[in-house]
Symmetry: C2
Subunit: 115 residues, 2 copies
């Protein structure tokens, strides 16, 4: 199976090498497999996970939230807890969207005023 070096993984994901290591330390990804010499080898699965993490980070979730999410996806909790967690996160995102809409309305008002 084809794997990627840290530099290549950073390149593909748009996440810096340092941040990839940081995410791994924090348990958000991996643990990443190593070569005999101790270098990391990123698989396509790893890249997929990194993509998920990035998606949620961009949405404003914190590292602790993501640790929770990882635990959920690893099925370390009963199904009802998982759904509850996911719904709670979804609600938080909806609130964030609402906050953004409010701010956009203010901007639109000002844009109309100055145009």
């Amino acid at each position: 199976m084809t794997t990627l070096t840290p530099a290549a993984a950073a390149d593909r994901t748009g996440v810096s090498i340092d941040t990839l290591r940081y995410y791994e330390r924090e348990g958000l990804i991996g643990p990443i497999r190593r070569t005999a010499g101790g270098r990391r080898e990123y698989t396509e699965d790893d890249l997929f996970w990194i993509g998920l993490v990035t998606c949620f980070r961009e949405a404003g979730l914190g590292i602790a939230d993501l640790r929770g999410f990882v635990a959920i996806l690893r099925a370390e909790h009963p199904p009802e807890d998982r759904v509850a967690f996911l719904l709670e996160r979804r609600t938080a995102l909806e609130k964030q969207v609402a906050a953004l809409r409010r701010a956009m309305n203010v901007l639109d008002e000002k844009i109309a005023y100055y145009s």
Copy 2:
């Protein structure tokens, strides 16, 4: 004209007294008028501004962005710069909404899977 003490302003706006002072130091609000003894008196106008700032902070704008916004609303720049700035901020907010939608889609997928 009726004014509010710091504690009352904090109470009305939901922003802590320390944060109100911080915003003032950073030039996001005020300067707030003082009594003879040096205590702050918040006017309704001040509260309105604080509301605006809070709205944008909740939408994820940084302190520096808000300083820019304040400068704009104080008409310290030509109209075309103002509109450009506002449109740029609006685009950033739209991107943020898109990021949130992506994350919500992932959540919905997982919720469906676990339900």
